[in-house]
């Protein structure tokens, strides 16, 4: 499912101009990170992908559908969006119902709904809580429920808004595993995050937003080396990139393995 965004502008009713001409495309199966300072327009941008917002000017194509001419409920077949705050998303009385709601709503047959819900709960490791009420769970668990309920819709594009916020190391590891799993399945993963270390380790392309515009769009290894551009939108390069640069090993280290092999190479 190819995504094409062309000269996208969006102005909120309050007059705030959140997007001021954004253009890029995403090929099927890409793993894209969107970073940038608070208020840069990241969430406004991705809300256009599933039609929660429609362009003030410009266009967004999801496959052959123009979002301006496509009902939001139809776009849900193609783009799953996991909210930053799970409490804006969850409403069913049990976790199991919550996760099954999406695929049922998309019109999958009952058997398929059951299968998709089970797979999503297994992948997010929340199957043990299927009978619980989401609001009896901790905020970090509710985030996993929100994620499962979107994964269960089996959309070709999955958008994650700040998936690692407030999560401990175990859950961040779980998120990394899920991103890789979606990649293996050939799905497009678009992640908004402030966690640049997570980006460097798990995503392949980086777009940095600043004041409603795109200020950087590059493969991850090139992007992490753009220290000045990143800093201009309040992002610091990943920890290991900074370490590699400090030691004059390389400007584009993204993972611990890359760091260690660069270190060995200098020995």
């Amino acid at each position: 499912m190819r995504i094409e965004i062309n000269d996208l502008h969006y102005t909120y009713a309050t007059g705030v101009e959140a997007l001021r001409g954004v253009s890029f495309s995403v090929e099927p199966g890409e793993r894209l990170a969107i970073v940038g300072q608070n208020g840069a327009g990241k969430t406004t941008l991705v809300k256009h992908l599933n039609g929660l917002l429609k362009p003030t000017q410009g266009s967004v194509m999801v496959g052959d559908w123009d979002t301006r001419q496509t009902a939001t409920y139809r776009l849900a077949q193609r783009v799953g969006y996991v909210f930053q705050n799970p409490d804006e998303q969850l409403f069913c009385s049990s976790v199991g119902e919550e996760v099954a709601f999406g695929p049922r709503n998309l019109g999958f047959p009952a058997e398929k709904v059951e299968q998709l819900a089970q797979e999503a709960m297994a992948l997010t490791e929340i199957a043990a809580y299927a009978e619980s009420n989401s609001y009896d769970l901790s905020p970090s668990m509710r985030k996993l429920v929100a994620l499962a309920s979107v994964l269960a819709m089996d959309t070709p594009v999955v958008v994650l808004d700040e998936p690692t916020t407030g999560q401990d190391a175990v859950n961040i590891g779980r998120m990394a595993h899920i991103v890789n799993r979606l990649y293996e399945q050939g799905k497009t993963v678009i992640t908004i995050t402030h966690d640049i270390d997570f980006c460097a380790e798990n995503l392949a392309r980086l777009i940095a937003m600043g004041q409603g515009k795109m200020i950087l769009d590059a493969p991850m290894h090139e992007a992490v080396a753009q220290e000045a551009l990143l800093e201009s939108t309040y992002v610091t390069p990943p920890q290991l990139t900074r370490l590699g640069k400090r030691l004059e090993l390389s400007k584009s280290i993204c993972t611990a393995n890359e760091f260690l092999s660069a270190l060995r190479g200098k020995q």
Binding site: Q37, S138, N171, L247, L263
Partner: protein, 288 residues
């Protein structure tokens, strides 16, 4: 003199199946910056609520032991008294915003109105705190029409303005960009020079290493470790119980396995420490 003292404190929420905190004892000196880390569900928020008096006066449950904050025995006190001594910045800023005010400025004034601070003094205090937290340009906006990161700054400002002796922050930077995160740590650190004591639950180890004095590690409601930043943040137990460590520590641990980290050298927490150690590795190999 200790400004915070917990002695064998345990707490179980009325709805809880097991205690959220068990036999917790520690003390904090005036002006210290203590970071509280631990996996999700380890009791970090519960500890924040305890020190700020929300436990047991808002969140109900069974308590035992002693909690003393700024000379007040919190368990036998009440919230109206506690707010004079300790302020809490909530994890989710949405839970903190009063809902009764139309602008950010009024929201920040709300606490001072309740404390009966004279109007002549209020304006100056609000201006100072808005400058400190970088939200001056938001003064006339609705607290609800802000991004998550902006709301977190407003929540912080609304506590700072009340000038409590102890400020408790529950993951105050979770929705902030990296520079915003650093600014919050800097603002909070600057409070300690005025004798204000800081307790902050956080996951961001690199910033804790740079700004905090001591770390308390919680796991399953118990104190697993407490000590200096160095002792605690490089403890191999941390990853085992699901607590994040900095990438600098992780990569040095991996390097250690193949003798690429200087033998006998402490594991690094910060960029500088990691760079120093690896420089030694590189020098050593070239000396041979």
């Amino acid at each position: 003199m200790a400004i915070i003292e917990l002695n064998d404190f345990s707490f179980q929420y009325t709805t809880g199946k097991q205690p959220a905190l068990q036999h917790v004892s520690f003390s904090v000196e005036e002006g210290e910056f203590i970071a509280v880390i631990g996996p999700n569900g380890s009791g970090k928020s519960t500890l924040c609520y305890t020190i700020s008096g929300f436990i047991p006066h808002f969140f109900k449950g069974e308590t035992s032991g002693l909690v003393k904050v700024d000379g007040v025995e919190t368990l036998s006190s009440n919230l109206a008294e506690m707010v004079l001594h300790a302020g809490l910045v909530f994890q989710n800023p949405f839970n903190q915003i009063s809902g009764s005010k139309f602008t950010v400025y009024e929201e920040i004034a709300f606490g001072l109105e309740n404390l009966g601070v004279p109007g002549s003094e209020m304006a100056g205090r609000i201006d100072d705190v808005m400058a400190l937290t970088g939200i001056r340009e938001l003064a006339d906006r609705s607290p609800y029409a802000l991004s998550g990161g902006q709301q977190q700054r407003v929540a912080l400002a609304s506590i700072l303005v009340m000038q409590p002796r102890v400020i408790v922050l529950d993951e105050p930077t979770s929705q902030l960009d990296p520079i915003g995160t650093r600014e919050v740590f800097q603002v909070v650190r600057s409070m300690t020079s005025k004798g204000i004591t800081i307790i902050m639950a956080e996951h961001k180890v690199e910033h804790i290493a740079a700004f905090a004095d001591r770390v308390i590690v919680l796991d399953e409601g118990k104190i697993l470790r407490q000590g200096t930043v160095r002792e605690t943040l490089t403890d191999p137990l941390l990853p085992e119980c699901g607590v994040g460590v900095s990438r600098f520590t992780t990569v040095a641990q991996l390097a250690q396995k193949e003798a690429l980290w200087p033998a006998g050298r402490a594991l690094p927490v910060t960029l500088e420490e990691a760079a120093d150690g690896f420089r030694e590795t590189l020098r050593g190999s070239h000396a041979h």
